[in-house]
Amino acid sequence: MSDFNNTLPEFDRQGASVVPRPEIKFMRRRTMFCFAVLTALGGAIIGTSEQTADLKWIALLFACIGFIAVDWLRVFSLPPVLAYAAMAVIAVYGVGNFMGDDKMKAVAELLVSAQAILMLQKKSLRLFEQLMIFVLLNCVVAAVFNDAFNYALFFLPLSLIGGCGLAYLAADMTADHVIDHDHRTPKESITSLRQRPDARFARMDTRIATRRIAMTGIKLPLMTTLLLFPAVILISVWFFFALPRRVAASRGSGGSSARVGFNDSLQMGDWGKMLQNTQRALRVKLLDPETQTPYPSDGEIYLRGRTLEVYQCDATREIATASWTKPVVSDINLTVPVPPRYVPRRSSDQQFFDRVNVEVTCEGMRSASLFATAPYYWIPGSEKLRHCVGRWTVERDVDTAIMLRRYPRTTYRFGTHAFFRGLQTRWTAFEPLDDPFSARASRRERSPAENDLSTSGAQPATIDELSAIDLDYLDQTLDYSFADMPSAAEIAEEQIQKIPAERQTSFRVARRLESYLVSGADYSYTLDLQPSPMPGMDAIERFLSVDRKGHCQYFASALVMMLRSRDIPARVVVGYRCDEFNDLAQQYTVRQSHAHAWVEALIPWADIPDGEVIYGQPRGGLVWYRLDPTPAGDADTGATAPRQVVDLAQDLWNDYVVDMDPERQRTALLQAPGLAPMTQSYRAWIDNVESLAVAINTGEVRGLGGGRLFSTPAAFAAIAFGFLAVVLIRLRWPAWRQRRRSAQTRTAAPRPSLEFYAETLDLMEEAGWHRQQGQTPFELVTSVAKQTGHDPKATLAASVLSPLRRLTEAFYQLRYGASPSSAESEETRAANDSVQAQLLQLRSLVTDQPESGT
């Protein structure tokens, strides 16, 4: 009896030879591509940290291999058993690494290796899910030990591609579920093979639905991205800023290695590389304390890091190694809190200096040094700073320095009197070491209100008045060995001879020597030092007499020695000299290449020429004068517009994402550069509303009519408004209605009563030919027949035309011809069979066409 059961030609005809539909293949390949890109980006985000930089190449390599060889060309795939074994091996290896020092690196390696194995496996929906979770974990790990701006650069494309991947996955899952119920498709689907228990009593064909889903699935991610991504961004931003924070922002455990900063000892020649590095070191924002607007400064600013007084040179080597260090005397390494603001006795003095608040954001450093413009004073935000007595440099408070080895990124503020009309002063008051005014002030319990009022004590008038400690310190700033570097004294002598004897004050000498070196007549600036061995020669002597070229360290050292040869106390100051002003962010961007060394010479008050303005700091006695002997190099200090944008983006990222803390959370929106005016107006509006509410409560509101019940302007406004409303309602509404009604009639197309012709029309609709309203069946045939050779649907049209024509003829025959209920005859039966056969042929043509015409 078995042959009675084979009456399912549609199902048995093709059986297991059915190939997966091209749309499904196409969609699935896109999903695979998306997840390959996602894996590569996940690796890249992990690779943003220096410790794990190599991992990104591993992830990229396996993403490429996985997509090209496994998913696309299907050259090979890792069997599940092997994959499990490999995972186990990696897990053991990972646990081994985890016992070591760098736990996060071990985790990162484990993740990337697992991803590599997943990429080599044949993809299934489960595998896609795993890949997605691994990418998320990549982000987690990268977030824990990384705060680089690169994270943001990769995170944005990653989330975009991730959204696409998820959308593809949704389409894939839906299509796969429908395919799963198709009894005729062999399990090409990516879920595991499943024996269907219900196949014994029913067969189903879901190919058309599958194809529709797949075709939407191909387009869907674009729509999803366009429509939903902004919403996702909005919600995550809202969440980020709204999540209450109780702890201060902390940095990742890994951290980018701190390359910036200075040690207390400075090796000459060390700076060659650093001066070519454009990585950012500081951001310096100058603000007017009254208005909190950017302070307009002209030209470059000098930020002091360290003062170095002691010169040491080991000339026994082939190439002499020289270094500058600070004195070892303990008293002169005293640090105290930042001094209070200096208030001049004469209020008119305030016209000769500007009060400026400086906000500095300093990247991770290797030393405790921070940077400031002297003279500075305490303002809120200076708590993290310690003032180095006598040297006008700041360093981190020991409590805030986390480790001895590494100092994290920090932001601090101080006030300064160093600016006048946008220019930074060259003068810094001498601060006695034994009883500094700042130390005096700091010993007292200070309140912030008191800060501005406290004034300094009297300054020593001459060198004779100095204490022993100060004299000891000055001795070290006069240390000069004629035997080691005779050229310094000779050149100084030679230059000073050019100054008239009666005018040879220390100030003029200093200026003369500075301008000699700056002029570049005999000495040139270079970062490219290639010294030849010259045993026994001092580094400075060699610079002055042999090489005659070098960078700022050499120029500064040479000038210090020249000054000292003339008994003028001098010291090297290292810090940053910056003229890169970011117009967008209204702040200075200080790069490592801006690192600079200059000189300070101690000038007696008496030698200061008329016209020099020294205000805003204690007067009298001795003053340090800044000298910069380095001639202009060819270093590129200009910031291009794109670079400014990148810098600004980086600043925003650092300020509003990485360093979000409870305090900033409160003030974030008020201080954002772009949002400030908006929030100001918002606040103003709130204030207005509040005052209005108060006014209403107190009955002060009179309205347009000045308190009367009827008001002519209000009446006009109401009439105009009402007219507008009527116009809108009367004119626009019918247009909308009409459009909607026409849409509804379009959808409700009449359906023929003869079942076979109705199905014919359905099939034609699937193939892309819609029967228009009022189009007769024969006209439909004609329109199909008109498909020309260059039309993409022409091939299908040619094959479909014959069955369609015969079905249409049969429709006319039955609909308008002889009654179908006439006596049964062989002819009627044959005609019926023919109709069924044609219908079957049409169905197979339409459903099996490779590309849909719709």
Partner: protein, 428 residues
């Protein structure tokens, strides 16, 4: 008491969604406790995706309206198209990646067919059709379960679904669920291709000229009496003589001819029915199914050919007889009877014959379709022979044993049927 509004939508996170949530929560806690802002940003992104997914899929599933159109007549082995009209009632939002799952249960509830189809996108205020082609291999009574329309769009991290509302009935203190008859589907037996000239094998020459002449006019109906004319009565039936005498129109009334022309009797005999239990392909192979299928084919064949009145009796556990005719409804009832018949080891043949005789008003012609031979049936039930002899006096009867060579006179040979398949292979 006002019935509570029944919730018909659900929303659940998928496995991926739960993992997403876990990672998001971990990031949120880690970020908030340790002050790692990048983790908080990541948590924000994870949770934003979940929120968007939740709102979008909820929106879609709240706007979706589904109408199921199951075909009116379903024959076993014939492919039918089950359609779903999916309407998006939202004014702005399109709907993506909708999946429709449906369930078909057989009468015992043991067999469950899960059906699925889907649609890629439905634009706002639009209706889209989707379908799947279904071919049920076994006749019987099935019930349609609840359909369920669901979506995983846009991000596959949750699934929102809506299922068809159950019919509810209020009884005094609680609400109970009703499963109306609408949800029941009868799958008619498989139609067999009948052999050429099969109708010539029928006991009487149905459809012949003799028959046609016999049915002409009103002469065949027995005169019953006269009554007053009513609106709608045929003028041909007016009895003019009485009308003239009474002064108002009178019509002749006839007793309707209650005799049928042909009775089909299906012998639902199956030895394995009680011992083994019919399952799966065993049922397809069973000869009794061929007998039932042949009966169904004859019912359909007779209905379309203008053959006059037909009655159908099925002898299974209990006997039923349905007198039908050429009407669509009559054929449907007969096919339904065949669809629901349960083969047994000892079918009630005598009772079936009685029932057929009663309802047909003593039909003369009888066709017995059986999976066993005449002799075998008589051996099992000796009374049958007696009854058939009585029947023989009134009309003719024939016995079709579907396992016999005789069956080839009724059922088209394999080669004939295969010609259709060959044609399709040619097309492919």
């Amino acid at each position: 008491m006002k019935p509570a509004r029944l919730r018909t939508t659900r929303h659940r996170l998928t496995r991926l969604g739960i993992q997403f949530m876990m990672v998001g929560l971990f990031c949120m806690l880690g970020g908030a406790l340790q002050g790692l802002n990048l983790l908080v940003a990541l948590a924000g992104a994870c949770l934003a995706v979940i929120v968007i997914q939740w709102r979008t899929s909820r929106w879609m599933i709240d706007s979706v309206r589904v109408v199921r159109r199951f075909p009116d007549a379903v024959f076993a082995g014939k492919t039918e198209r089950v359609r779903y009209l999916i309407h998006n009632s939202s004014r702005v939002a399109p709907m993506w990646l909708l999946r429709v799952d449906d369930v078909l249960l057989d009468e015992s509830g043991a067999k469950r067919l899960e059906m699925s189809t889907g649609v890629g996108m439905v634009l706002p205020q639009q209706t889209t059709k989707t379908h799947f082609d279904l071919c049920l291999l076994r006749r019987g009574r099935y019930s349609l379960g609840q359909w369920e329309v669901s979506t995983m769009a846009p991000f596959a991290i949750s699934r929102a679904w809506r299922f068809s509302r159950l019919e509810l009935k209020m009884i005094p203190d609680r609400m109970v669920e009703l499963r109306p008859e609408d949800h029941q589907v009868d799958v008619y037996p498989r139609l067999l291709p009948l052999a050429r000239h099969w109708h010539r094998n029928l006991p009487s020459q149905l459809g012949s000229v003799a028959k046609a002449s016999r049915r002409q006019g009103i002469a065949q109906d027995e005169f019953f009496g006269l009554r007053e004319y009513q609106r709608g009565d045929s003028p041909r039936h007016i009895h003019w003589r009485t009308t003239a005498r009474m002064g108002y129109p009178a019509v002749r009334q006839f007793e309707q001819q209650s005799r049928l022309d042909l009775t089909l009797l299906v012998d639902a005999f199956d030895t394995e029915a009680e011992t083994v239990g019919i399952t799966g392909e065993a049922m397809e192979e069973a000869p009794v199914e061929t007998a039932i299928s042949l009966a169904a084919s004859l019912v359909v064949g007779l209905s379309s050919g203008g053959h006059g009145q037909t009655a159908l009796a099925v002898a299974d556990e209990s006997s039923y007889c349905i007198a039908g005719g050429q009407s669509h409804e009559g054929v449907r009832r007969m096919l339904t009877l065949l669809a629901r018949s349960q083969p047994v080891a000892s079918p009630e043949m005598i009772a079936a014959l009685d029932a057929a005789e009663r309802s047909s008003g003593g039909a003369r012609d009888l066709v017995i379709i059986s999976p066993r031979g005449h002799a075998e049936a008589i051996a099992a039930s000796p009374e049958l022979d007696q009854r058939l002899r009585v029947w023989n006096r009134r009309g003719r009867w024939i016995w079709i044993n579907v396992q016999d060579r005789d069956a080839a006179r009724w059922i088209a040979r394999a080669q004939e049927r295969d010609s259709d398949e060959r044609f399709q292979q040619h097309v492919a």
